[in-house]
């Protein structure tokens, strides 16, 4: 029980690494993988706190987050394929039609 803080710190580190990846990478698929990593970091703190508080609701939340991530993966990757068919690239700088 004393090591709850360790799990939360690992979760924070993974979330921050994911943030850096989302903000610095140009490849849309790598950005997508970093978003998945951030979701997983949050899942880790959900499970750690659920264990610490003796309540399973947090783990049910993790289950729903995984479902949403799966749906997001299916739709997001379909969007990348569609984008690639139009632009011959998946560089996020090429998604600039709505740019000012």
């Amino acid at each position: 029980m004393d090591n709850l803080n360790n799990y939360l710190l690992v979760s924070a580190v993974l979330f921050s690494i994911g943030t850096i990846g989302v903000l610095t990478r140009k490849n849309a698929i790598v950005v997508f993988m970093c978003i998945e990593m951030m979701l997983n970091a949050v899942n880790l703190s959900f499970v750690a706190l659920s264990r610490h508080l003796g309540n399973l609701d947090g783990q049910v939340f993790v289950f729903f987050i995984m479902t949403v991530a799966a749906a997001e993966a299916a739709v997001g990757l379909a969007l990348f394929i569609s984008f690639f068919n139009n632009r011959e690239s998946i560089d996020i700088d090429d998604a600039n039609l709505m740019k000012w």
Partner: protein, 170 residues
């Protein structure tokens, strides 16, 4: 220092190094494989936290299904490795935001105080009834409506993926 702490330290080092590799690798395939390693480390954490069902679906859903989708897409799109475009200001700004996030979160975690255990679930209870059964009991009583809504979400995602990825009928 007991064996659990040593194991935790090893898993943490592997998790953080592989997470850094996801961000720094030039080739998306290498990033994807490092991400699989990160997911396995998270599954190990779940197993250490007395949540074996979560560890199983972490490996089946994330390391299995989602990563296969991602690797398949990388293969299908046949993208070349990043050209040597430099985006120094973007990298500096992104790293600063990430590090500030980490410092703030770390400050809250170290200074903050999580409430004492309140729920009925103990590790002994999990060992006696089984984790899957306890999760199932909560999910199909208290969270039944969200569970059913999830099925609609998955149906919508399935239809959406088919519609988005198909060729235009000309």
């Amino acid at each position: 220092m007991d064996i659990t702490s040593v194991f935790f330290a090893i898993v943490t080092i592997v998790a953080i190094v592989s997470a850094l590799l996801v961000v720094t690798c030039k080739n998306p395939i290498n990033s994807a494989l490092s991400l699989v390693l990160t997911f396995f480390c998270l599954a190990t954490y779940y197993a250490m936290l007395d949540a074996p069902f979560m560890a199983a679906i972490q490996i089946i859903v994330y390391a299995g299904a989602i990563m296969v989708l991602i690797v398949f897409t990388i293969m299908l799109l046949n993208i070349r490795v990043d050209a040597n475009k430099k985006h120094t200001h973007q990298i500096v700004l992104g790293s600063v935001i990430g590090i500030v996030t980490l410092l703030l979160a770390g400050l809250f975690i170290i200074k903050g105080n999580v409430a004492a255990p309140t729920g009925p679930i103990t590790p002994e209870m999990i060992a006696q009834y089984g984790h899957t059964e306890l999760i199932g009991t909560v999910m199909f009583t208290e969270f039944l409506l969200p569970f059913e809504v999830t099925s609609i979400l998955l149906l919508a995602a399935m239809v959406g993926a088919v519609v988005l990825a198909k060729k235009k009928l000309s």
